[in-house]
Symmetry: none
Subunit: 525 residues, 2 copies
């Protein structure tokens, strides 16, 4: 299996790796247990030499480094071809070269004769082999080429294979081949060349890169290429994070290094997060296997059933891939999901038939009729639950506030807060009314609760939840907070946008105080 | 083809639709040309009745509305079953019911005998048919059920079919079946029941929902279910935005209504954006077919080749799906979309190479760097364009304003406005600061411009568009207005939420005045 996050992944829009990140990603991939790391295309991007050079100081436990490039140019000798020599110069054990399988490309893009293209392939493979490199041959546009001229497309594969390429990789470069066609064509290649070691390199232009990789494997391919999180040009490459567990857990194949499955895939989520982080991208919460919501249960029916029989609504045990089951609190869910959320977030073992739980649920449902949605803001729901359970200890209460705002730079706020029995009056100045009141509120709280100084707003949204809409309607605010470790979401609803924002801010800070004191009490018991 | 964005899509984490959004999405889906719109699960969520009731006032051109629910409970009569009666009560032409195909679920979740489960299926279908409904039967967990006990799984399908279900939908409810297995099992069902009309309902837990739908169709299914943008529980449902063009453009099947392909799919991108916007979610720029980068060429090799021979690196013409080719990673659109929008909204025939158009575009691009997004608020972009074209005539200007707000019922605003050369000072009282300033602004304007009294706000959303987020960040407000005939959207960006709201309101009113006077002038010519 070959990872090309650092080469083909880097072709993605909004993707750009710093040298230090490339090194760290390579080390993570080695730890995960990949066979090949395609680290760059030095002819196209000379900066990639820096990476190959830097990697000399970081010996890899298992993975082999590979440099990428094209076959030699037409009408030249391999030894005089800059592109091939740039691969040799990278000084790594493996070369990955791509050549043309589609007559359209040979005729119109290369403008070479078909015989010359075959010579370009075989001479390039031989040249790199003569330089002691292991060669992987990528047959660019193979599936489209096969559809238009199967005999010629097969001849290009044979040229690479006879010249000594170790794997012949069938690429769906434009990403538009549907999965049943990938299967059919791969199976036909297999029948024609039963001993040729085949690989798959898929793009996601019709949303089938992962499935097409699995289909190629089902048809006999034994090498796969992809990128972490599916980053790559246009719609991206096949996502290894999704492919690897499916190959092993769904298709019974061995991938990665020889350890027990739980150990192998437990690293997947970490590697996925690491790559998002390096690129400054938000992780996709809906990503298969590793996403925040990959094992999230919302409907009451599902939540109940999954507790009885996990595999009733879970295709694998989430722990196998370093993930976990979560329950989403919603208007649709019964008590089950609130109880499960309480166990997950607060560490409380509750019974959904408990009187206090039922009363909390009633309040939640009533508030949802007024425009709240706790589904997206479970921390506010947990505060309601704590009140009904008698576990809520009031740490502060907002008594009064005023804001004055206008087109000038500053808005001003005054807030009166009862903090641990003391009344505080604080003023805040901010770029807008919400900022001004946040500044005033934090001033009032941080003295008594220094732990709040680490709390940051991560996101903020406002919508009109009701059917009839005007500037008079109630608005729903949803805020997301972090303290560097946890992430939690709160909500506020009011026809005054500043009030709704303040409610969400208040719950955001209160959630930290309540959960901290709950944990302390639990430890005390 | 059945869209279940409003039912199964609503099961997604962080997905919550307001009633007005549900109505608008249903109308968009009808415009797109879908056959069935599954609008809700009234037994599980009684609020869905509001939607079905509200839709009586919006006749659909083609789509049929469907209500979702389960088969009857064990050991009861259909006529006494609340779940079935809730479907009847929805008063729509189509019922979609799900039943159990997997013996694990029958034994452990339902705790019913296998014979009773078959009776539950057939009696439920019959009951709904007797009430004049067209019935679509969803065989929950069919693929897993078939793998463990094929004969029983097939018997459940037969029970539904013989009872009069119009389509038998094979569901991969846990989303863990790999595509080659989906093909094999669907083909086996087809062989067993050659005349049974089959459908596919796939989940994305191993990243194969789109491909699995295509595989089921390749094996003989002729009905597909999915959601717009693949929203749905856990990792989501199959994305119709990706499936529909593949069925037609890659597999040669007819989907949507009988119009020429360019017309059909040109709406896809718009519907996709609309659903993201309703949920306050950022569109996925890498989404197949409709994403911002779906046809983005970054590598120099590809960019050059695609100019020579587009199909060398493009699997379809991007215009077929309302998308476009982009070369550089740029902020947004070229002149083409602004020019097209001007023709559509203002009735102006412009050339994108025109100096004034180019300057307007530069201003738009600059503002987008500051956090604006004119994609979702074209009316504000049109006002900028009119200024650069010299066609903008100032009708009013906001000179000053102040708002005072607090937790009390009323907020107060003062606004000073220059209206047709006269300075007006008006006060407004409202339930919140945005309402107060809107009241004051309308008071200042309606005397001079009585046409504004018909203008209503239809929707309002606020998000933080920048990467670094705090209460200090700039917010982006998007407002939607109507005068009963037209709908238009405007935007404002500021670190003061009241200011951003006021900018969007100002553009909303100004858009009416500017377009009215433009039309008068055009008529005068």
């Amino acid at each position: 299996m070959l990872d090309t996050t650092l080469r083909d992944g880097a072709q993605g829009a909004n993707v750009s790796f710093a040298l230090q990140d490339k090194i760290r990603i390579a080390l993570k991939l080695d730890e995960l247990g990949v066979d090949y790391i395609e680290g760059g295309w030095p002819y196209s991007n000379p900066k990639d030499y820096q990476f190959f050079k830097a990697m000399k100081e970081y010996p890899l436990a298992r993975a082999k480094l590979a440099a990428f490039g094209s076959t030699r140019r037409k009408n030249t000798r391999p030894s005089q071809d800059e592109s091939l020599n740039s691969i040799v110069k990278a000084d790594v054990p493996v070369a990955v070269i791509f050549g043309k399988s589609w007559t359209l490309h040979v005729d119109k893009v290369l403008e070479a004769t078909r015989e010359e293209n075959l010579a370009m392939i075989s001479e390039s493979v031989e040249y790199l082999r003569e330089h002691g490199m292991e060669v992987i041959y990528d047959a660019e546009h193979f599936y489209q080429g096969y559809q238009e001229d199967p005999e010629y497309a097969l001849a290009t594969l044979e040229a690479a294979w006879r010249a000594g390429a170790r794997v012949i990789v069938l690429a769906d470069t434009n990403g538009g081949t549907p999965p049943h066609e990938v299967y059919r064509i791969t199976a036909e290649v297999r029948r024609r060349f039963p001993n040729m070691p085949l690989g798959a390199h898929m793009h996601n232009d019709i949303g089938c890169a992962v499935a097409n990789t699995l289909m190629a494997v089902a048809a006999g391919a034994r090498h796969v290429q992809g990128t972490i999180n599916g980053i790559g040009e246009r719609t991206g490459n096949a996502d290894l994070v999704q492919i690897l567990p499916s190959l092993e857990l769904k298709m019974g194949l061995r991938v990665l290094r020889e350890e027990a499955p739980p150990v192998k895939f437990a690293k997947l989520r970490e590697v996925s997060r690491f790559v998002y982080e390096a690129l400054g991208l938000q992780p996709n919460p809906y990503q298969p296997y590793v996403g925040e919501f990959a094992f999230a249960h919302k409907g009451g029916v599902h939540a109940d059933a999954v507790m009885k029989v996990p595999r009733a609504y879970e295709h694998i045990d989430p722990q196998l891939v370093g993930n976990r089951r979560v329950f989403v609190v919603s208007e649709m869910a019964g008590g089950a999901s609130v109880v499960l959320k309480a166990a997950e977030v607060l560490g409380l073992a509750l019974n959904k038939r408990d009187e206090a739980v039922r009363r909390a649920l009633e309040e939640i449902k009533m508030l949802e009729k007024e425009g709240y949605s706790f589904d997206v803001a479970p921390a506010s729901a947990m505060l309601i639950l704590l009140r009904h359970l008698g576990l809520y200890r009031e740490r502060f209460r907002i008594l009064e506030w005023r804001v004055v705002t206008g087109p000038a730079e500053a808005s001003y706020a005054v807030v009166k807060v009862l903090v641990e029995g003391r009344t505080m009056l604080e003023a805040g100045e901010g770029v807008g009314p919400v900022h001004a009141i946040d500044v005033a509120l934090r001033k009032a709280l941080v003295g008594a609760f220094p732990e709040l100084s680490d709390v940051q707003l991560r996101d903020y949204k406002v919508i009109l939840p009701t059917a009839v809409k005007s500037t008079e309607s109630v608005v729903r605010v949803v805020s997301e907070f972090t303290d560097g470790e946890r992430i939690w979401r709160t909500t506020g609803v009011s026809s005054n946008i500043v009030m709704a924002s303040l409610m969400a801010l208040r719950d955001g800070y209160d959630f930290v105080l309540q959960t901290n004191s709950l944990n302390k009490n639990n430890i005390g018991r």
